[in-house]
């Protein structure tokens, strides 16, 4: 398990490549070739992360021997979890096997882990903790003292478990593809070197964040990725809009960071430790004991999540962030950085689970924010003409989906969706990039159309990704979305009906607006100018790879029943098995809903209807105008036309009328004029109040009083000069007068 204990190497490599590129990029290597360093570094960590992932699976598959002793202890917890729902014997047993593996491990692991951890702290010996806990705890933490302050030790190290390696793989893969893709996309850019330097830095920061051993590291990584995003959004800083967008992104995130800081501090104050492992263990050991503190912390952290993962109401920076280069949008603002919030929730899940009492409630802040964001994002996606904006809002919506999933207790589903979404959304963005690359760097869909025949690769990959996003069987999105809906339906102790409705609506709308995009971009007549052309291999190959993942990504967490016919039940729920930190979650009594065919069909149906309706709508509108006459024959009733008419009607008066016009537009209006304005005016008003205070309070009152005192002294000096009349007899009078007065006063007083 070497890789797991020395995972710290993984962020180190891109960090080095960043330094190399920045300092030797121009001089030594030559601007044109810096990408080589970046790509080498990233492919290296890609390999490493795969190794890590493999070793992790080994680790889960073969729990260490001394652990078996504990089985009996955990059985109850498990059976309890599995009680409700129809039982599939093998599945059951299978679960058992795994759960034993994890569960008994944790009881042990924590103590040991901690002991060793402490030992490591005291002896300050590098990975003592790691080695110690590696044997038995599913979570591999290895850390050493970073700095200590007032008796509080701050560790730096890695916290590797299923979730970590999953994110490792995602980040490394997509970063690698983006690196390759960019070599063509930003070729000959004015700041090629800086571009790659920042890509490396971002990768390093993101990995650092993912592997954070304690919440302080979480904060550090969180901020660092934020800065990289700032630098890359403002990559073309000559144009003011870009820098505005960059500032907006950074400042909005800073607002969330208030929540982050405060929330983390509350956690620290409550549990007296920074270690994620310790905090989670503490909560799952005795749930509910710290409920209020956790509620506060969770609320604060939600603000952070909202800002980083573009949740309502702090999402407005994300669409603007599209000002950055498209590959950056794919990497940072679709696949990795923006899911940092989701990741943090998952990472500190006990906090939220307990704080929002997800287990018992049937609605809670996180679920609602997530659901609402999903709905709103989807609605907004309709109103956009800029293809990247559509994708951005779609990202907002999907992130909302994930947050909602976490809010309803469907941990695995959320992470699984995070996993799949990363690939197909990256694919979509890169596709969009490829399109604009072809169509003279425009992102306006009204200037596109009919690109299908010019750029088939882009088209097909885009379609695949679209299907995946829409959740069409058997594409990746289908499986993950299905699990989320299922989770919303079943919930923990009670279902989340509202979330289920939101989920379904979003499923439908997603399919609809994505079809719209596909339509406007690739079908119909080319409305732009010049001759679009397919992008070169270096761009299309990554597209295909991602498309492939979008196609098969679902396989990583197939439900048991699906595999049963093939006798592959052993491969069921891999993500759940490997990624889910049952160490922490089991203590919370988190249960998994059993797969249900009906739910899957409903989800699929919604998606399909969305696509069909949209397709027909456009198909119909583009036909010869004779069709409108046929409308009149509706009553005469050709079933086929009726159907069409029915659909048409449906679309026009229900979908379009209900979604596009009121909801989407009003949502858009609200978004632009209220939320966005609010964000901007917040800045403005701060600036104005600053001016006011400076003018009136600082320069006026405070400084004024100081200067006034000085002036007062000066003028009184001037006044006093009059007693110096120059007439000697006045002097005498003053002298004797003073003498007399003093005499009288003293005689009276004393």
């Amino acid at each position: 398990m070497w890789m797991l204990e020395n995972a710290f190497l993984i962020p180190l490599i891109p960090a080095l490549s960043f330094a190399v590129i920045l300092f030797f990029g121009k001089r030594v290597i030559g601007s044109g070739r810096v990408h080589l360093i970046g790509i080498t570094a990233v492919s290296l960590i890609w390999v490493l992360s795969l190794v890590a992932a493999f070793q992790w699976t080994q680790r889960v598959e073969h729990p260490s021997s001394d652990a078996i002793a504990q089985i009996s202890v955990d059985d109850h917890g498990d059976d309890h979890g599995d009680d409700h729902g129809d039982d599939h014997g093998d599945d059951h047993g299978d679960d058992h096997g795994d759960d034993h593996g994890d569960d008994h491990g944790d009881d042990h692991g924590d103590d040991h882990g901690d002991d060793h951890g402490k030992a490591a702290m005291h002896s300050e010996s590098g990975h003592g903790g790691g080695h110690g806990s590696a044997l038995i705890s599913p979570v591999v933490t290895s850390y050493s003292k970073w700095w200590s302050n007032g008796g509080v030790d701050f560790a730096i190290g890695t916290h590797v478990d299923g979730l970590t390696v999953l994110l490792l793989v995602v980040v490394a893969s997509i970063s690698l593809l983006v690196h390759i893709y960019s070599t063509e996309y930003v070729k000959g850019d004015r700041r090629y070197v800086h571009y790659y330097a920042f890509l490396s830095l971002f990768t390093a920061a993101m990995l650092f964040f993912v592997m954070a051993q304690n919440i302080v590291q979480l904060i550090v990584g969180w901020e660092l990725v934020g800065v990289c995003s700032f630098g890359l959004i403002g990559h073309w800083w000559e144009e003011k809009p870009n820098t505005d967008a960059a500032l907006k992104a950074f400042l909005t995130n800073r607002v969330g960071d208030i929540g982050l800081l405060v929330g983390m501090i509350v956690l620290w104050g409550t549990f007296g430790t920074f270690s994620i492992d310790a905090i989670n263990t503490a909560i799952s050991a005795s749930p509910g004991t710290q409920h209020f503190a956790l509620l506060v912390a969770a609320c604060c952290l939600m603000a952070a999540v909202a800002s980083k993962s573009g949740q309502f109401p702090l999402h407005t920076w994300l669409p603007d962030a599209m000002a950055g280069p498209t590959p950056v949008s794919a990497l940072i603002h679709a696949a990795t950085m923006v899911v940092a919030g989701v990741y943090m929730i998952a990472r500190l899940y006990p906090v939220f689970y307990d704080g929002f009492s997800i287990g018992t409630s049937s609605i809670n802040l996180m679920a609602f924010i997530g659901g609402f964001t999903a709905l709103m994002g989807a609605g907004l996606a309709f109103a956009q003409w800029d293809i990247k904006k559509v994708l951005a809002y779609s990202t907002v919506s999907q992130l909302g989906y994930m947050v909602m999933a976490l809010g309803v207790g469907a941990w695995t589903a959320a992470i699984f969706h995070l996993f799949t979404h990363a690939f197909f959304k990256a694919c979509l963005f890169l596709g969009a990039g490829s399109v604009s690359h072809a169509a003279h760097h425009t992102f306006d869909m009204r200037k596109m159309g009919g690109l299908k025949k010019f750029m088939p690769h882009t088209y097909w990959t885009f379609v695949i990704a679209t299907l995946a996003l829409s959740g069409i069987f058997p594409f990746a999105g289908f499986w993950s979305k299905d699990e989320i809906l299922l989770g919303a339906k079943v919930g923990q102790q009670s279902g989340y009906p509202l979330m289920l409705i939101f989920g379904c609506a979003v499923a439908f709308m997603t399919a609809a607006y994505m079809t719209r995009v596909v339509w406007y971009t690739f079908h119909g007549e080319y409305r732009g100018h010049g001759h679009p052309h397919e992008s070169p291999k270096v761009m299309t190959v990554p597209l295909w790879i991602l498309a492939g993942m979008a196609l098969v990504g679902g396989a990583f967490n197939l439900p048991g029943p699906v595999l049963k016919p093939f006798g592959l039940e052993g491969l069921a729920h891999r993500v759940q098995t490997y990624a889910e930190p049952s160490v922490y979650l089991s203590g919370l009594g988190l249960s998994h809903p059993d797969p249900s065919l009906s739910m899957a069909l409903i989800g699929l149906g919604l998606a399909l209807s969305g696509i069909i309706v949209t397709y027909l709508y456009f198909w119909r509108n583009m036909g010869p105008k004779g069709l409108t006459e046929r409308n009149k024959y509706a009553k005469a009733g050709y079933t086929f036309l009726e159907n069409k008419y029915y659909l048409d009607y449906l679309y026009n008066d229900i979908i379009v009328a209900s979604i596009k016009k009121p909801i989407a537009n009003s949502a858009n209006w609200f978004n632009q004029n209220v939320l966005d304005k609010a964000v901007n005016t917040a800045g403005e008003s701060a600036r104005d109040s600053g001016r006011w205070i400076y003018k009136w309070i600082d320069q006026g009152a405070i400084d004024g009083s100081v200067n006034a005192a000085a002036r007062g002294a000066d003028t009184s000096g001037e006044g006093l000069r009059t007693i110096q009349s120059g007439k000697v007899q006045n002097y005498g009078q003053l002298l004797f007068g003073a003498a007399a007065v003093l005499a009288i006063v003293f005689v009276i007083v004393i």
Binding site: W147, N149, G234, V255, G269, I702
Partner: protein, 520 residues
Amino acid sequence: MEATGFDAWVLTLAVFLPLVGALIMMVVPKAYELEVKLIGLGSSLAALAVGIYILFQFDYGSSSELQFVVDKGWIDIINSRYIIGLDGLSLPLLLLSLLVVPLCLVYSWNHVPSPGNPKAFFILLLILSTGMNGSFISQDMILFFVFFEIVLLPMYFLIGVWGGEERRYASLKFFLYTLFGSALMIISFLALFFLSKDAAGNPLQTFDMRLLTDAAGSGIVKTTQVWIFAGLFIGFGIKVPMFPFHTWLPDAHTQAPTVGSVILAAVLLKLGTYGFIRIAIPFLPEAAVAWAPWIGLLAVIGIIYGALGCLAQKDMKRLIAFSSVAHMGFVMLGIATLTDFGLNAAVFGMVAHGLITGMLFFVAGSIKERYHTLEISRLGGLLKSVPRMGWILGFATMASLGLPGLAGFWGEFPAILSAYNPGAGLSEELFRTYMVIAAIGTVLAAGYLLWLYQRTAFGEPTEEFADHAIPDVSRNEWIAWVPFLIGIVLFGVWPNLIFNLTDGVVSSITANVEAVVAGR
């Protein structure tokens, strides 16, 4: 434990070598300009070398004890002695001030601002450094007071002679403010001298800081303590500067020559906070507890207020100056919590602010030198016209807004953190409120700094400078700046460098406070 042999001399050397250099320079005629400069640089470098020697000789195991102690008679008649010593609290600050001065000399080697006269300029800088170094190592209140005051005149002349248009007003304001503060300060010192008693209850009648720290204000009734603390509070608070005593700072900074601002920001302001930690709190723990809520309040007001002030500025240098008010607010918040956590954060904040804001002022000065203006609206596109400087500015900006991994963050974050659990039975609710406000302050900080950066560095250069060929960072500037940049990164990545040093001292201080509060 008095130092012996050479060790007994190192601190004295570190303090007075620059002064010796200055005296030699005085007698060398102006005509030999180069020689004069070399003597100045040499003496300051010699002092720095001594500092490095100290760095190696320092016993980090017992960083909480005074080391290199010298205790010689000075003014027997008032029982004030020449006591100097160095512990983990003084070491970083001493080194900072030892480092800054030679860098400033290098920076202004060929760029002594008008009206020129490098000889006088260098001499004043050296005298200044003597005063600063001395303040950080003196363990006798009168000695401290003398060094504390020595820095005034040189800075007054630096601002007044080599400053901007409003220089006379600014320099005088700076001087009078500080003079007032120090007058009240000396009153408080004397009150301590007469009132504090030792454990046995008989009067100490000493200025020896070590004894007074042990006495911890015993024998002084609380109300009196509060009054004495008030004197110290004003004396140090003006220097920090704390709201509402801050108004001298923007003027002084704006008008001062570049190195003047750098030294002001990097070292002089620290004298105030250092005084709080070294003198005010340990000597008068009870009063400190009584004052802490108010200090905290003023600190957070300063944070928000300074930030808002920054947003209002049109002049780059003035903006940076106001940001100092905000940053020192964080430092004071850390101090106000009276936890060793907070005090450590405060010390770290001092060093970090010294490096970062010093760096910012350097850049501002160089920009002024090239563009002859610091009006934000007239600047722009620095990244295009002077890319390297633009990057350095961006770097310093990021550090200043508290980006993790750079020094600034470790001053801010622990300070905020410490407010969650204030020490010495201070009201948690109150300080947690402060914590949240301070956290909001970080947003504003990001706001004004990025706003500054956007308007100065991003975009295209303004027309008036578009066609000028403006030189990028020069050799001397590199020499002067690189140490700052390295320091910012180094402390950001490895904060323990400082926390390790200060922790011992600070925890003994807070333990003392806790004990006293518990005891009475």
